[in-house]
């Protein structure tokens, strides 16, 4: 067996393994004759696959619980006739047994063998268990006996309760009635109070340890056992079992007291009220991190009957700092009693009804559901491929599960507000309003706000807000409408929970379009949303997020117009954007964002190859500097400076500094990552470059630009087959995305697929980006159409003679394709003089592979600062 043979076998295996078994058997059978050797190998591998999937060799962490782990069912141990297993947990296994001495049924709990303890630990465990056994309280499980079997196993004989655990109830029914929740909480608190009074802390309170009996009484199981268990583990505070109910101090492995139990009770109460855990995650690590760092989502966000008092009680139990929790169960019981007399913790009927009415009024009209469902389905299919390369996200309902990667507790997308009433001059305002809301909200710590492009592109597909929310995997969306009537604007805004589809907040405003009033709407919406989602955000956070760089509504309107054209990202759009930004500045000469917009528009104009870079970049630099002179915290301007330092000055350290500053200001601003990828390619860190692009795509998954640039980066880092996969995903969604066909063509050339490469370029528009302009000529040259390649070269040269900007980089690529080394070097020299934007990728450019040892090539690279 060699590597190539293994690749062949694998290719067949990959094709077969996903098939339906019947189909697979048929395919395999045909191989038996034609290629018996391959047939044998595949049979063997498929069998291996089945086995590996079944048990994973016992190495994987998830082992299957055994029916009778100790092998004692039906036997007599000590003075007990052991019957069947009742349950098994992280530390022990419980059997139903008969106590032959006293003639009663008991629950007999053994510590599992891997909790076997040394002599001193054993003594400690027995002491703890005896202390717990001495507790006698109607809400605590009665322990009859603690002992050791002949074989040295520790056991506890406990009263056998017929009932179910709270875990079982929650799993079956989900959230419980508020009154029942309060009653169970009260009984648990009573039990805790009795135990804490004697100095015993439970340390492992969770629904699985709470028994609900038929007479509505509640018993807490396993008091005091967790401590012995933890001591048996290690001094490192290792924890097994579920981390979900663990307090922050336990997660950190610190000393705990009764207040840790109060935290756990808070988690249990939260789960009873909402049917969810306040700190969730796919893996233990994610949950642990959420416990340490995230604020829980408000219970009332899941269920609106919960009163403010009850919510306050839950949140007090879930304070990270034990000092801020209730000091003891008595205090908790006092608050519980107060809430119960006030009406069981629910808000009044009238209030609920009022909330509903308000929602109904505020809800914007929606198109017919049937059509929408169809639309959503087809878009989902098309977009599914988008996630192949970068990552698989958990479904929307489990957005919190990714907290290990995205620390923000609440994820949200702002949709472009619908412009009602057909006045298209109002469009920049309705888009811009959402845009600015996005900016304001993304400045709030712990809010994770989806970038605008993704939200906007899905809205354009006509999806309804909830569908867009689930596609974007956010928990909430902000949606709204804007209507301009004469000099007035009427704005509605609402916050929708994507999981439930419910509006959790809505409001409407009517303001003069000509006065500063309109700003107060943005403030008000931002504040309401932040208050709703992050009740603990400090007032300062909220205030700074709505700070605005102009007080002049007219300048603001012009700025929004500029943004609107900028987003078109074509050469006309850039010029129009420049014009509007300039007009905005004429009205308010201190308008930092407008300067930043100008800088962006010029930098892109240069980068897109619309103009000669060495005449445009200095202008871009001037405006970026002006923007920062007025407000040094404008992230866009820092990115512009980084961009200029990188693409024009070839000054890597300066670029690194600006990127650093920008990411400190707002790491979630996707262009930081989009461009920093080039910095990493310039400085020889290809993996980091790919990482940056993936981050950009993560932040803005539906942006065609980010997804296409990922193709570019994969191409320059020579991951051609990955580049193709990614390109295909983008292509499926938008075959005409700017530059995509050229990207694909050059990837095909590298993969030796000339036919596909040529087909891709058939009828495609010219792509002025200097890196892509030469692709057509290069492809012709490489695919045996030398004459066409020369014609393309001449066409471009003629355009250049006519005064148009044609990047010499592109000409160099075509000359390289034609194999003319001298001409290639000559063009690269000119590209150096014109400062063709990403000239520094020349050493990664596959077209120049054969030139890399050429001293002239090396010399150019050295002048740019690229190490060969």
């Amino acid at each position: 067996m060699n590597a190539q043979r293994w690749q062949e076998i694998q290719a067949s295996f990959d094709a077969l393994v996903e098939l339906d078994p019947a189909v697979r058997a048929g395919r395999l059978a045909t191989l038996a004759d034609s290629d018996p050797e391959l047939h044998r190998a595949l049979e063997s591998l498929l069998r291996g696959d089945a086995e590996a999937s079944a048990h994973d060799f016992g190495f994987a962490p998830d082992s299957i619980p055994q029916a009778d782990p100790l092998g004692i069912a039906g036997r007599t141990v000590a003075h007990f006739n052991v019957r069947e297993v009742l349950g098994a947990g992280g530390m022990g296994v419980v059997y139903r047994a008969d106590d032959t001495r006293l003639g009663r049924a008991v629950a007999l709990k053994f510590l599992l063998p891997h909790y076997n303890l040394d002599a001193s630990a054993k003594a400690r465990f027995l002491r703890e268990a005896h202390a717990a056994a001495a507790l006698d309280h109607p809400n605590l499980c009665t322990v009859h006996e603690v002992g050791t079997t002949e074989t040295g196993w520790l056991f506890l004989a406990m009263a056998l309760y017929e009932g179910e655990t709270l875990r079982a109830r929650l799993t079956r029914d989900g959230a419980m009635p508020v009154a029942a929740t309060l009653e169970i909480t009260r009984q648990i608190a009573e039990g805790l109070q009795a135990a804490h009074a004697t100095g015993i802390v439970h340390r492992d309170l969770k629904p699985g340890n709470v028994m609900l009996l038929p007479d509505s009484s509640v018993r807490i199981l396993d008091f005091g056992l967790a401590k012995a268990r933890d001591q048996s583990m290690s001094e490192t505070g290792a924890h097994f079992g579920t981390v979900s109910y663990m307090s922050p101090e336990q997660v950190r492995g610190e000393k705990v007291d009764g207040r840790a139990d109060l935290w756990s009770l808070g988690v249990v109460l939260y789960e009873m009220l909402t049917g969810r855990k306040p700190f969730a995650g796919d893996e233990e690590v994610a949950v642990a991190l959420a416990i340490l760092h995230d604020a829980p989502m408000l219970p009332s966000m899941h269920r609106d009957q919960i009163s403010a008092q009850l919510e306050g009680l839950v949140l007090r139990l879930l304070q990270k700092d034990p000092v801020k929790r209730y000091a003891n169960p008595e205090d908790l019981l006092r608050d519980l009693a107060r809430i119960r007399t006030l009406g069981n913790g629910t808000v009044g009927r009238l209030l609920t009804r009022w909330r509903r009415i308000r929602r109904a009024v505020a809800r914007p009209p929606r198109p017919a559901t049937k059509r929408l469902l169809f639309g959503a389905g087809s878009v989902a299919v098309l977009l599914a491929g988008y996630f192949v390369v970068h990552s698989v996200r958990p479904p929307a309902g489990r957005a919190a599960a990714i907290s290990a990667d995205l620390p923000a507790a609440v994820s949200i997308a702002v949709l472009p507000f619908t412009n009602v009433g057909g006045d298209s001059s109002n469009l920049p305002f309705s888009d811009g309003f959402a845009d600015e809301l996005t900016t304001a909200l993304s400045k709030v710590e712990r809010l994770s706000v989806m970038s605008r492009t993704s939200s906007f592109s899905l809205r354009r597909k006509g999806l309804d807000s909830r569908d867009i929310g689930s596609q974007l995997h956010v928990q909430y969306v902000v949606d709204g409408t804007v209507r301009r009537v004469g000099d007035r604007r009427r704005i509605t805004a609402s916050l929708i929970d994507v999981n439930t589809g419910k509006e959790v907040w809505a409001d409407h405003f009517e303001r003069s379009a000509l006065t500063r009033d309109v700003f107060t709407v943005q403030d008000s919406v931002t504040r309401s949303i932040v208050r709703r989602l992050l009740p603990h955000a400090s007032p300062v956070t909220v205030a700074s997020s709505v700070a605005r760089p102009t007080e002049n509504p007219e300048a603001h309107d012009l700025y929004l117009q500029g943004r609107y054209f900028f987003e078109r990202r074509d050469s006309v759009g850039m010029r129009k954007a420049q014009e509007y930004f300039r007009r905005a500045i004429r009205i308010d000469s201190t308008y930092a964002l407008a300067y930043a917009g100008l800088a962006d528009a010029y930098a892109l104009q240069a980068n897109f190859g619309f103009s000669f870079p060495n005449s445009i970049f200095p202008i871009a630099r001037k405006y970026a500097t002006l923007a920062l002179a007025h407000d040094s915290s404008i992230v866009e301007a820092h990115v512009s400076l980084a961009f200029i330092a990188l693409f024009h000055d070839w000054d890597w350290p300066a670029a690194a500094r600006e990127f650093e500053t920008a990411s400190r200001l707002n790491e979630r601003y996707a262009p930081i990552h989009l461009y920093r990828a080039w910095y990493f390619m310039a400085t020889d860190s290809n993996d980091a470059a790919i990482g940056e692009l993936r981050r950009a795509v993560d932040l803005d998954p539906f942006s065609g630009l980010n997804n296409t640039r990922l193709v570019t980066i994969l191409f320059y880092t020579h991951h051609f087959s990955e580049a193709l996969t990614q390109a295909r995903n983008v292509y499926e969604r938008d075959p005409n995305f700017v530059g995509l066909r050229q990207e694909m063509a050059r990837v095909y050339v590298q993969l030796g697929r000339c036919k596909d490469a040529l087909a891709m370029l058939e009828g495609s528009a010219d792509q002025p980006l200097s890196l892509l302009l030469g692709v057509r000529g290069y492809t012709y040259a490489k695919c045996g159409r030398t004459e066409d390649a020369r014609a393309e070269l001449n066409r471009l040269l003629n355009r250049a003679r006519g005064g148009e900007y044609v990047s010499h980089y592109a000409l160099a690529v075509i000359q390289a394709g034609l194999g003319d080394d001298d001409q290639t070097i000559a063009e690269l020299e000119k590209a150096y003089v014109e400062r063709a934007p990403p000239l520094f990728v020349m050493k990664l450019e596959p077209a120049f592979a054969s030139l890399r040892a050429d001293p002239r090539f090396v010399a150019i690279a050295r002048r740019i600062g690229v190490v060969m």
Binding site: E37, S44, A60, T236, A238, F680
Partner: protein
Amino acid sequence: MAPDASEVTGLLQRWSAGDASARDRLIPLVYDRLRQLAHGRLGKAPAESSLNTTALVHEAYIRLVGAPRVDLPNRAHFLALASEIMRNLLVDRARARLTEKRGAGVSPLTLDELAGFSDENLERYTELDDAIKRLAELSPRQGRLLQYRYFGGLSLEESAAAEGVSLATAKRELRSARAWLAVDLKGDTLQ
């Protein structure tokens, strides 16, 4: 002396950014932490328990890095590194102990981390290690994917990020690698 989280995070970021010396400085930190954790854990483990390498590696992560702001690529790099160290640590110790048991001389290593570990378990890990080496000769990346899974418990997403490949690629390659492993561990070979 415990390194603080920001130091480890800083090293991770520098390593992700291509600074190889950062990786060299990370190794002893991760190694020490894993050894400590393994010591506490395994010393108490009786023969039949399986070593939860996943828990160890992830716990090392929480304790060394802790901060949730470390993004997926950095976390993936950390876990990948930890899985490699875990593998070396475990397999070296297991080999030394087995050698000692078979009377081929006394091992100079202190082996208390593996006290209570049955020979059968030790052999399973050395066999796994050998099998992974064999696959790595055919396909280095698949070797690493197996290591990530069985010595580090990396999720598919983390494995993909550690390798800089798509999730689909990681998934596909891990599946065939696992099937290969099943065949190999049975002592069969593919032709």
